[in-house]
Symmetry: C2
Subunit: 351 residues, 2 copies
């Protein structure tokens, strides 16, 4: 059976189409309550709900927002951004049209055009991880960048405060009493921008604590995977005992997982013999590690909310030109403890 239209309601209520529209959107206070009741009753009886396409054409607003991303929806990393975006959209009666481009520029261009053709009210341009992007030319006026930042600026953007997050992580280790703190970094040809930022935070926190950074303690893995973390950690643990770190700040949780296996292979117990802190708070790895990993969370949900709120115009950035930095909170689990007492054998063998 076909959808019921406003004309059906009008017929049922014995009034004109205009009247139905007026009462449904209560746009005209002059219509007496009795008539209003009649119209509402007819609408309810027929099960009428307005056709959003027709309304979209007339009103020039579709109550939809587009969200293009490289691979957010289809990879397990940043889904919480979507949750934030969707929640805000729902709260304001909007729907979100999602396109994952798989990082293909042509797909992306086509997608943005298709979205514009569909008259989306706003566009969110999102990345899976913090990047600075060379954004396409013809973006809608209402575009906001999520977890990335356009080279030229010109649109609101929100990214995690990786620098501050790095500092937070290192401060946590300092507070536990560590002085020899390593940074397990990544050495990819195009390392993520977060790498440099977290390093800055690391340096900052060391400086704050009056610790002289030891270049020897800044090591690199080839990739951001467990494998990369493991090989980098091996470098550290190969150091003579006195120069070895007592704590590791790993670029991310996966690398931290690799650090766990490197430590375990030498019979080191975490956190007794070695404290480890990660970054990202990836549930599947951080929470499942043994012991569960203390880490700094990427505020994906909050960033998704922020971006959508400004896209919808319900929030205005303090400084519309600037990139909004979102705080990365620390998630305390069980991989950090005070360093082994100086001079004590860190324990070659498990009991």
């Amino acid at each position: 059976m076909p959808r019921v239209r406003i004309s059906d309601v009008a017929a049922a209520a014995g009034v004109s189409i205009s009247t139905v529209s007026l009462v449904m959107n209560d746009r005209d206070a002059r219509i007496p309550l009795e008539t209003q009741e009649r119209v509402r009753a007819a609408a309810a009886a027929t099960g009428y709900t307005p056709n959003s396409v027709a309304r979209g054409l007339r009103m020039q607003t579709t109550r939809t927002i587009g969200l293009v991303s490289d691979t957010i929806a289809t990879t397990p990393y940043a889904g919480r951004m979507l949750a934030g975006a969707q929640d805000v959209a729902r709260e304001h009666g909007h729907l979100v049209i999602l396109v994952d481009t798989g990082d293909d520029a042509e797909v992306e261009r086509d997608a943005i055009r298709a979205l514009a053709d569909h008259q989306i009210d706003a566009l969110i341009y999102a990345c899976m991880w913090h990047r600075v992007v060379d954004a396409p030319d013809h973006l809608p006026a209402r575009t906001v960048f999520l977890d990335c930042r356009p080279v030229g600026g010109g649109h609101p953007a929100v990214v995690p405060d990786d620098r501050a997050g790095g500092a937070t992580a290192v401060r946590e280790l300092v507070a536990a009493g560590h002085r020899r703190i390593a940074f397990v970094d990544v050495d990819e040809p195009n390392a993520p921008i977060a790498s440099a930022l977290r390093l800055e935070g690391y340096m900052e926190a060391l400086r704050e604590a009056g610790i002289e950074p030891d270049p020897e303690l800044h090591v690199y893995g080839a990739t951001t995977t467990a494998k990369g973390g493991r090989s980098a950690t091996d470098l550290l643990l190969d150091l003579p005992e006195s120069r070895r770190p007592t704590a590791l700040f790993c670029f991310n949780d996966r690398m931290a997982a690799g650090a766990y296996v490197a430590a375990r292979h030498r019979g080191l117990e975490i956190p007794r013999d070695l404290s480890i802190i990660g970054f990202d708070d990836q549930q599947l790895v951080a929470a499942e590690l043994d012991p569960p990993l203390t880490t700094v969370a990427l505020p994906h949900y909050e960033m998704g909310r922020w971006a959508t709120e400004v896209a919808l115009g319900v929030r205005t950035p303090d400084d519309p030109g600037a990139v909004h930095l979102m705080e990365c909170p620390i998630i305390r689990r069980d991989s950090v403890s005070p360093p082994p007492a100086a001079g004590r054998d860190p324990g070659r063998r498990r009991t």
Copy 2:
């Protein structure tokens, strides 16, 4: 600046709106090439692309599909289903409007209505994991179920073939020479339907191999997490040596990860002393485990494709009433080997 409309193109080309529409959709062969060229040139010059909302109103098809799910997009488990759905949608010029309901029935109802109001061409009702669902009443005619199946039937549905997948896993272990194969199951109050199905497959493969199922080897964890897997595995490894299994088929990869830690705590080496096979092929866990886990993959991507293809009408199910079962392929990594030679000490200590 406002969008360019078809009337702008018509003016630029010096023809009527009808003509422009006709050539853009090449709907009338009678228009001479010369005029066609002129129109196309004008369209290109002005940068015209048709307004999909207006077209949607006129054509009664919006070239969008709705995808409602419990929490697919926002959790790291089943994102590949989205990838499959999106790829098919894109291949056919469609956009997908995504709503994660967070399993809230009211949100779900509202979302389905909102999608219907937006005149989606088809609806995909998806779940994060294989379930049989009590689907809402007023679903669009074109609805297909993805990774779940409506109690009453009535719509096409696709789910993984968990039974066959379970059999595949166990056959792999049998082929490696194992005879004492345990099933590390889950004992949640409402255990996933996949649990019973994979058990069936387990039984089937044992029977096939002429192995008498040993009830002692069917153990339960409290949850589908690593913790659950670990405690269930402990039960198995507490068994006297002669009754202990040489291989574990774990309900999923996370439980398999738990089995790894249980084994490691007893100094058992995988796969030398104990073979382990998982289910789901969750990248973040299966591939990162040490050694990488052999597992049976959930065909998320293919299911997403299938569902979307039938939703779009480009594929017709062989039996439209039946639930389509999608094959679960085995992913061989390094956690399965032949059992330790009979009588040999399985090795209490690492070398």
